[in-house]
Symmetry: C2
Subunit: 341 residues, 2 copies
Amino acid sequence: VPGERMATEMAAQPEVLADLIARRVEISDAIGAVVPHDLSGVVLIARGSSDHAAVYGRYVLQLATGRPVALAAPSLHTLYRSPMFCPGFLAVAVSQSGRTPEITSVLQSYVNAGAAGIAITNDPQSPLAEAAGATVELGAGEELAVPATKTFTAQLAAFALLAETIGRIQWTGDDWDQLPEMVSRTLDDQESPARVATWLADAPGLISVGRGFMYSVALESALKLKETTSLLAQGYSAADLRHGPVAVIERDFPVLAFWVHGPAAQDMQDLVGWLASERGAKAFVAADDGDADLPLPENLVEALAPIPAAVRAQQVSYELALLRGLDPDAPQGLTKVTPTT
Amino acid sequence: VPGERMATEMAAQPEVLADLIARRVEISDAIGAVVPHDLSGVVLIARGSSDHAAVYGRYVLQLATGRPVALAAPSLHTLYRSPMFCPGFLAVAVSQSGRTPEITSVLQSYVNAGAAGIAITNDPQSPLAEAAGATVELGAGEELAVPATKTFTAQLAAFALLAETIGRIQWTGDDWDQLPEMVSRTLDDQESPARVATWLADAPGLISVGRGFMYSVALESALKLKETTSLLAQGYSAADLRHGPVAVIERDFPVLAFWVHGPAAQDMQDLVGWLASERGAKAFVAADDGDADLPLPENLVEALAPIPAAVRAQQVSYELALLRGLDPDAPQGLTKVTPTT
């Protein structure tokens, strides 16, 4: 059955999250033992959808630690053999399988340069985990569908757990406790994403947009849509979209916007209003508002809202792939482990 | 005349570069006076096409210094008021006008947190320059066309000059000396970009791709094409393209690929060969090879090749806009200074 694997893997998300959350103390102890006392900065190493989780990690870790958080450019290490000097840095590598050789080799370069290494991966026996001083085991299990779903939301949660261990955060145990149930209720509502997918059936392209914590979801939404439906989707931050790319938005061009209550909400509402009135964009909104096209859970702290928001993007991708007669499990031309040098 | 300003500004590039290069020693002295002796890392602050110059800066500065280079997430400072602690860091802010309030305020946050501040801008009297300890004056003059051209290539040169001041680099004075003339000869060849533009006349979208130093040019090419022609263009690194976005490439989908001799060349050639044979992509190549669709100067060091490569992207955008009956000087819906909060 087309999409059966993706559907099963999406449905597993509440349980995967609950399991990860149940291991909070254990994870915190393991990470705490390797983090430098006098932290200078953080480097994140990832590719593909893990790279979008890292964009979320950049926000949550910089806010928690007050230290600059960099996304590594892998080719600097694998191709250009950049000599590095990174004492006081924490290097966090993210990989679903832990078996992408490039990611392991980049983490190894940072560890060799004096950084403390952490792996976020499904497999604690993988080469990536072996190269790290501590591992956050995602526990998402194997993903058989090519588009990563349960691993992605688990990666977001892992970054939040990491932030909680090494800095100051804005959520409490209550937020964690209610998260799996909120994700479950989001998954139960399949009508809203099906309605959005119907609108997108013949769309030539799409722009997804978010700000702050939701920027990662805008990027991941575009990737999921590209992977599963071949739609020319692009993700932007609200600010970057205003700097040029807005030129491609003509009448009825679809825009998928993500926000919840918090410092980014007003700017996002202004942007979407402007795109609709001035450029004639057809805006679809995922927000913590029952009237939104894609309602998100109310009363969840902003910093954790990207988790159910990412589920919305998966649902739309899944529904649109089926509408377009494609198999969401096995997009053409993609394989699970992508070797890059 | 449509495109007159953009054409004039593109033509000014050899002179702008020659002037900047002539100020090498002066610039190096000013920067050298503020760079921390015991450098921990570097943070780059930019938006829009300046952000693509910063992607180049990330490669060239990390290779030169061996320290992690982060791209700042401005909203962390302007919206979320992230408290920071950054002694030993160098914060480099890039803005054409020096008058984007967001960029100035983010630089100020890093300086307040203990970082040394450098501004790369056209206006040494701008608020951005005032917030910095030292300024690299681009000397590109005012840009009247909305798509930035001469400022962008000057920004790339400014990052290379910064790298030369604070670390070890792979080019010599000879490379600088011949650069303006090479850019001039690239500008003289208008036939190659016109031919590529003809091919793209009815294209629904385009993917531009580069690796290492050329990744910045892939991003900037996509932005220039979007800005001037409304083409749904997207820029990727070779590695990221393989991780999912390749799904959108179907028969005759245009791909614009950039490379020159060096560690990234083989991988780029392999990728383009694979895209053409397996996905039926229509590949256009900008390379240091007389047979390329868009020839780049031969015998220029790889690290400086993005400068003439960016000129190729400008030329294609300019020609395609005219072919599509658009005015490259004034793309619809864009203004010169974009206020973001």
